[in-house]
């Protein structure tokens, strides 16, 4: 009897081990940087930017694991992939592809600062959509220029989109974020992007992103700044996760 039960137990355990495991949710990502992949980023981009006075610094470049991937589209022509890294809290590798799935942008963003407006007036400073009695000083997100923090000096960035209009409405993509465990979050952005050249030939630049974000809600909970530099995709050493799919 005991032997019979023992054998049955072993058989049951074997069957459990051989049972197919549920597939995890995984995002096909450029460079096979899906959830769970590992990567090192070579320092050339960082060194060149810092050599030109970039405020992008204090960033770990090696031994990252992809802990989440967020995706969204802009302008019906560009698809963005935010690859969140284990050693870069709040930051991400931003990859953009066009409709032909060609990689057209590769940037590393680090978290720069966060602001948590607590009143309607404070929110007016950042966003004017749907607001009353706004002034010219209001609606920071979408103005032609944005600035660094005072501690980094009066560094001014120019808006990437919308030409020279004094202000444009922020873009409102919804970033669908899937983490390494398959959990999903919807980040509602009110977003604008800015840049400044670092070198005279414009080959080295620094970028600033500002977004009033909300998780799984349409009401933003705070304003986040990221500062970023361009990274050559050839300078990203990827160790794909075993089930990381090839990017079409």
């Amino acid at each position: 009897m005991f032997i019979t039960q023992l054998i049955q137990g072993v058989i049951a355990q074997k069957q459990a081990e051989q049972a197919p495991k549920p597939a995890r949710t995984i995002t096909a990502t450029p460079l096979r940087l899906a959830q769970g992949s590992r990567l090192n980023i070579q320092p050339m981009g960082l060194l060149l930017a810092n050599g030109q006075g970039s405020i992008f610094r204090n960033v770990t470049l090696d031994n990252h694991q992809v802990v989440a991937v967020g995706t969204f589209g802009l302008f019906n022509t560009v698809r963005y992939y935010h690859v969140y890294l284990s050693g870069l809290e709040g930051g991400y590798l931003a990859l953009a592809v066009n409709n032909a799935n060609k990689l057209i942008e590769s940037r590393l963003y680090r978290l720069y600062t966060e602001v948590n407006p607590t009143s309607i007036e404070e929110w007016k400073f950042w966003l004017v959509e749907g607001q009353r009695n706004v002034s010219d000083d209001d609606g920071y997100i979408g103005k032609l220029y944005a600035n660094s923090l005072d501690e980094d000096g009066p560094v001014e960035y120019t808006r990437d989109w919308g030409g020279n209009a004094p202000r444009m409405d922020p873009l409102t993509p919804i970033e669908v974020l899937v983490d390494i465990n398959g959990g999903q979050t919807r980040l509602h952005h009110r977003l604008m992007q800015y840049s400044r050249p670092l070198s005279g030939d414009n080959k080295i630049a620094e970028h600033l992103r500002v977004s009033a974000m909300a998780e799984n809600s349409t009401d933003p909970s705070g304003v986040t700044f990221w500062v970023g530099i361009d990274v050559d995709p050839g300078e990203i050493q990827v160790f794909p996760a075993t089930d990381a799919p090839a990017f079409p």
Binding site: P43, M44, L47, E235
Partner: protein, 265 residues
């Protein structure tokens, strides 16, 4: 697929002198079908080679782009390496900072030597992935030139074949016309020969022969009459003299003399 393999599959048919093939007995017996098949094959061959040229041009563009990208990365590695060296120098006694800077320096150096070669000036002229990429561009250029040449030959061949087809069609058309003409002539000759067989050509001669026979019979009747007359008298009579004169070529007034002679008997 290697160049020879592609050629083998393309040229599985025996290639010969297409123009001669068109004018031989096979083409003459199945002219329309043979011509159409040959021209279509030639066009297909030229089109297939055009596709191959297009593939090789795309490969050439890819190879050239790779060289450009590697040159840009090499330049970045060199510039970044200079920055890293400056960071190492600036670290001074700060061990942690120095270690970070040295790590970056090593990474830049590794990238530079990997792309540009292990020896100065690290420019990819003799070794490194940049050198290999440049060699790949050269090789691809040779491939492209080869297939462009094959394509040009195929286009020329297809063009000449069409010209030969047109020429052969003209030759065939002339031959047909000549054959028709000869046939008509033969029919005409036959028709002419049939006319001759029905006697149409002897009408005049027969008439002459009949007239000659008639004249001979009349002459014989006259002699018999003369003999009869001569026999009754036993001697030539005036009638004999007259009959001899009649059988002879009569003088124009002989008739009158004869009439007179008989009227006097």
């Amino acid at each position: 697929m290697s160049n020879s393999g592609f050629l083998a599959s393309m040229f599985a048919r025996q290639m010969g002198d297409i123009g001669d093939k068109l004018t031989n007995a096979y083409a003459a017996q199945h002219a329309d079908v043979a011509i159409q098949v040959e021209v279509e094959n030639a066009r297909k061959k030229a089109n297939d080679l055009a596709s191959r040229v297009s593939q090789e041009m795309t490969a050439m563009q890819t190879a050239t782009t790779k060289v450009t990208e590697l040159q840009a990365r090499l330049s970045r590695a060199k510039q970044a390496g200079k920055q890293a060296k400056a960071a190492v120098d600036a670290a001074g006694d700060d061990a942690a900072q120095r270690e970070v800077a040295q790590g970056m320096l090593q990474t830049c150096f590794k990238a530079m030597t990997e792309i540009g070669g292990t020896d100065a000036p690290y420019d990819g002229s003799v070794a490194g992935t940049l050198f290999e990429a440049k060699e790949a561009v050269k090789k691809q250029g040779e491939n492209l030139a080869f297939w462009q040449g094959e394509h040009h030959k195929a286009v020329d061949e297809a063009t000449h074949m069409e010209e030969r087809v047109l020429h052969a069609a003209e030759v065939l058309a002339r031959a047909k016309q000549e054959q028709q003409n000869a046939e008509e002539q033969r029919r005409q000759v036959e028709a002419d020969a049939n006319l001759l067989k029905k006697g149409g050509a002897h009408v005049g001669l027969d008439a002459m022969e009949a007239a000659a026979k008639d004249a001979q019979q009349k002459a014989t009747a006259a002699r018999l009459q003369t003999d009869a007359v001569r026999g009754a008298s036993g001697s030539p009579t005036n009638a004999d003299a007259v009959f001899d004169k009649l059988l002879a070529k009569p003088a124009p007034d002989a008739h009158a003399a004869a009439m007179d002679a008989f009227s006097n008997l």
